[in-house]
Amino acid sequence: MTRRIGVVTFPGSLDDRDAAHAIQLGGGEAVALWHGDTELSGVDAVVLPGGFSYGDYLRAGAIARFSPMVGAVVDAARDGLPVLGICNGFQVLCEAGLLPGALSRNVGLHFVCRDQRLRMENTSTAWTSEYTPGADVIIPVKHGEGRYIVSPATLAQLEYDGLVVARYLGGNPNGSVADIAGVCNAGGTVVGLMPHPEHAVEPLTGPGSDGLAMFRPVLSGVFTD
């Protein structure tokens, strides 16, 4: 049975249609979810896409975490619903307390868009199980506020528990602590990533298709059911 994955659209979401496109290429059905609603429509997983929710004038993700839909997603995530936050979605997950740490202004103070090498580290999450541990992949980054910061104690715990999902290779684009590009919760169901796997799903429109695997595992049913 085709897995149904919700993609939340906030005012200011930009990569929502792109995420839906990637889900379809991965064999799933994308279900549009609206920020002002609370109905998850029975989806099997949720993607919080990239963009600038509500303009992000206060701090990236700071307003979105209070939206009705994020409230519903947080409740469901605590019950095990797989959630992937990409870029702005990662920022929202941190603001909402589903993931530790925060994303702050890039060290270079510029927006950075580049094809980024990554090492996939935790490959037993709901979203990364199709990668080989240590896989060297290329997935674009594009953000102005992607520098992951976290307290030394939490960082040590993340590393100890193996909750770093991906790390930047060949140059850290934003000054993230320990070159961290993405982290997950203890259960491996909630993943936050600064890079955009939905922009590496077909060689024609991206640097390759290294990101497509991200949209398949939740579809194969290993985590749900």
């Binding site: 200011g12 930009l14 990569d15 990637a22 890039n106 060290v107 934003n174 955009h196 024609l204 429109t205």
Partner: protein, 750 residues
């Protein structure tokens, strides 16, 4: 009628001449009110009325439209049919003066403005290109202007979710006090969704959508865009620069697209230069021109304001961003308000369509404006300004670069090449382009530094478009007629190099003051050259923009016609990129190389020299070259293609080697002059990489069609090796090519 009849001195402060004031009085049959005068001042400004350029722009209208044109010049943007029931609209526009005064907001709102033009046609904006020109890269003011402009374009475009897929970054001292920021936007829509701006249907509601109206940008089109800067006079005009809010624009776009899809608007018009004045008069005038009963009654008290104390002329002239004007049937109004509320967009009914034939505006219960809309929109002054060939032109053209010392030894050629690829105009622009999102919308097939940006329109069929912008102010300074043709030829080559068929043209004509006869001569020559070349290549001009008064004191910029060319792909999967990727492929040079160095990058970098003649243009060759490049792509014969332009073959080879991560071994004929081979800027040329298995087929095709084609080498190893001259490793090339902008403007990363 309120408002004290205004003295002529006030009209001068608003940028009107005495003669124009008299003309207003006779159009109205009485002296104008304050608000009316403010409206005439902005509508009759150079920027809005094209009063100095109109007589020359007619040449573009005379070019046959072809069978794709759905909407031509004069609308917010031209529209062409691309098949599969889809239409593409594209246009380039300048935001030069604001970007000098306040670089971040000037550039940001330049993007915002052109995006709304595209939206107004009914299209979803799908990509942006930015053609940028600054003073010398190491000039102190460039360090102020460039980072702000780049951050402004990125800050706005990235927040809108629009990929930036191409453009140019050029440095020349003539732009020091007048940077050029030309933004091109392209959008796509089903043919049936094309919108009109004609306010029709008596009783229909006039609805203002988007941001509240504030005091920003008042006089943007008149005192800012239609006047020359004095030395140091820029910062004082900062209040005339608009302030952008991309988030508001993003939700405005989404809500308007939903209104179009639901068929809820009768007409739509963006608010850009001259704000509400322009939108009200143009929609009303278009409604009358369409033949129906027309007219409009507007109540300014209903316009949502940021500052309650704004006077009527301020409300009418404000250029506050992120606003649209919609004409809505009364029984659709409730649904319109539901859609806009869902997106969080402010929508306010401010008036109605009438049958009075006039635009009547009330404020505090009294009529402050009562004008025939055509007198503002269409009956403005038209000037056939005097022209005079520049006095220094003969001396400039006689100053032939042939006399300049040239590198001869292998070592000298090597160091010349390294200096050139590190020069500000030829170096890598990654520092700039990495600040732009090129991926959003998931349809970007090629983006900078490729020859053209390529966007997929249909995932099912691969239908897609290519876009390139080009211009060369130095060529145009030496010969504006040829320079404009070279800009068009280069943009066509760039589009064709990717495999797309060029189908339409937009242009942004950046010049000094039209009141200077020598500038006006440059303008006349450039439009004549461009129109002739478009006609020859069978390319209609779908729209564009003129930016005059790009000068500081009496020093105009180099005349800079920037040309944008739209190309069409039946299937973007066959696109050809610039990078050499396959070891052993043959490198073929298409076109003929002559010793042409007038206005060249070599003359500039090595000698700071500008003189002589620009490269000759042969439009028949350009057309043939484009056809060969497209045929090569269509038949899968090319693994890479790169147009030759600034910096000649040397620059193209370095870019293709670095992009693909492969070296090249180049062998010129024994008798050839290596310097000319490497650095000549002869037009009508491209370098292509062809697998050995396809080489004969490709060269046979060129021979059969009469395009000069010769083998110059092979893709090989990890050096650029010019036999009997020099070899440079890719690492050394990369270092030279990529270090320049970060060294000048700061490292982008940690």
């Amino acid at each position: 009628m309120t408002g004290v009849p205004t003295a002529v001195s006030t009209s001068q402060a608003l940028g009107l001449t005495d003669e124009e004031y008299t003309r207003i009085v006779s159009a109205l049959g009485r002296p104008p009110s304050d608000a009316e005068l403010a409206m005439y001042a902005v509508m009759w400004s150079e920027h809005c009325s094209y009063k100095s350029s109109k007589v020359h722009l007619r040449r573009f209208r005379d070019i046959p439209a072809g069978d794709r044109m759905l909407v031509g010049m004069g609308e917010n943007a031209g529209v062409v049919a691309v098949g599969e029931g889809l239409a593409v609209t594209f246009k380039i526009e300048s935001h030069n003066h604001p970007s000098f005064v306040e670089p971040y907001q000037g550039a940001a709102t330049g993007v915002g403005g052109i995006v709304r033009d595209i939206l107004t046609m009914g299209a979803r904006p799908v990509a942006v290109l930015d053609s940028l020109r600054f003073g010398d890269a190491d000039a102190p003011d460039t360090a102020r202007v460039l980072p702000g402009v780049v951050a402004g374009i990125g800050g706005y475009g990235n927040c809108l979710g629009l990929p930036t897929i191409g453009g140019e970054v050029v440095f020349d001292p003539s732009y020091l006090g007048n940077p050029l920021v030309n933004a091109l936007c392209v959008g796509v829509m089903p043919v049936g969704r094309i919108q009109t701006s004609a306010a029709a249907g008596v009783g229909n509601a006039v609805v203002l959508l988007g941001a509240k109206t504030g005091r920003d940008g008042i006089g943007g089109v008149s005192v800012l865009a239609s006047a020359t800067f004095d030395e140091g006079g820029g910062p004082a005009r900062r209040p005339s620069v608009q302030v952008g809010d991309p988030f508001t624009e993003k939700i405005l776009i989404e809500s308007c697209l939903e209104l179009f899809d639901r068929g809820l608007v009768v007409a739509i018009q963006d608010l850009g230069g001259a704000g509400l004045t322009c939108a009200l008069t143009e929609t009303t005038a278009a409604g009358l021109a369409a033949g129906g009963p027309g007219g409009m009654a507007v109540d300014l008290d209903l316009v949502p304001l940021r500052e309650a104390s704004m006077a009527p002329h301020e409300i009418l002239a404000s250029e506050s961003q992120e606003r649209m004007l919609a004409i809505v049937a009364p029984d659709s109004l409730a649904e319109v308000l539901t859609v806009t509320e869902r997106w969080g967009v402010l929508a306010t009914r401010i008036g109605s369509v009438t049958d009075s034939g006039r635009l009547v505006i009330r404020w505090h219960g009294e009529v402050v404006v009562d004008v025939p809309p055509g007198s503002l929109a269409d009956d403005g002054p038209v000037y056939n300004r005097p022209i005079r060939r520049p006095a220094d032109l003969d001396a400039l053209r006689a100053d032939d670069p042939a006399v300049l010392p040239r590198p001869i030894s292998g070592d000298d050629l090597r160091s010349t090449l390294l200096a050139m690829i590190a020069s500000s105009n030829l170096c890598s622009k990654t520092w700039v382009t990495d600040q732009y999102d090129r991926y959003v919308q998931a349809n970007t097939v090629l983006a900078q530094p490729e020859d053209a940006g390529v966007v997929r329109l249909s995932e099912e069929t691969g239908l897609g478009i290519a876009l390139a912008t080009d211009g060369n102010g130095r060529y145009a300074r030496l010969d504006p007629f040829t320079g404009a043709q070279l800009a068009l030829a280069e943009a066509c080559r760039n589009v064709a190099a990717t495999g797309a068929v060029p189908i339409a043209v937009t242009n942004c004509l950046n010049f000094g003051s039209p009141e200077d006869p020598e500038v006006m001569w440059q303008f006349a020559e450039a439009t004549r050259g461009l129109a002739e070349a478009c006609r020859h290549l069978g390319l209609p001009v779908t729209g564009g923009n003129v930016s005059f008064y790009n000068q500081t004191g009496s020093m105009p910029i180099n005349p800079t016609p920037v040309v944008g060319v739209l190309g069409l792909f039946d299937d973007v999967a066959r696109r050809v990129a610039i990078g050499f990727t396959d070891e052993g492929d043959s490198l073929l040079l298409l076109g003929e190389t002559h010793p042409e160095f007038g206005g060249s990058e070599w003359a500039w970098v090595s000698h700071r020299h500008l003189g002589g003649q620009p490269p000759a243009v042969d439009l028949a060759v350009e057309k043939l070259l484009a056809e060969i490049l497209v045929a090569g792509s269509r038949d899968g014969m090319l693994t890479a293609a790169h147009d030759l332009s600034d910096g000649g073959l040397a620059s193209a080879l370095v870019e293709s080697c670095l992009r693909g991560g492969r070296g090249a071994r180049i062998v010129f004929p024994r008798a050839a002059d290596v310097f000319t081979e490497l650095f000549s800027e002869s037009a009508g040329r491209a370098v292509v990489a062809v697998p050995r298995s396809e080489e004969l087929r490709f060269t046979d095709m060129c021979a059969a069609r009469g395009l000069p084609c010769r083998r110059i080498g092979v893709v090989d190893g990890d050096t650029l090796d010019v036999q009997d001259a020099f070899a440079i490793s890719l690492d050394d090339l990369q270092r030279a090519h990529s270090a320049t902008l970060p060294a000048l403007f700061g490292a982008a990363g940690p």
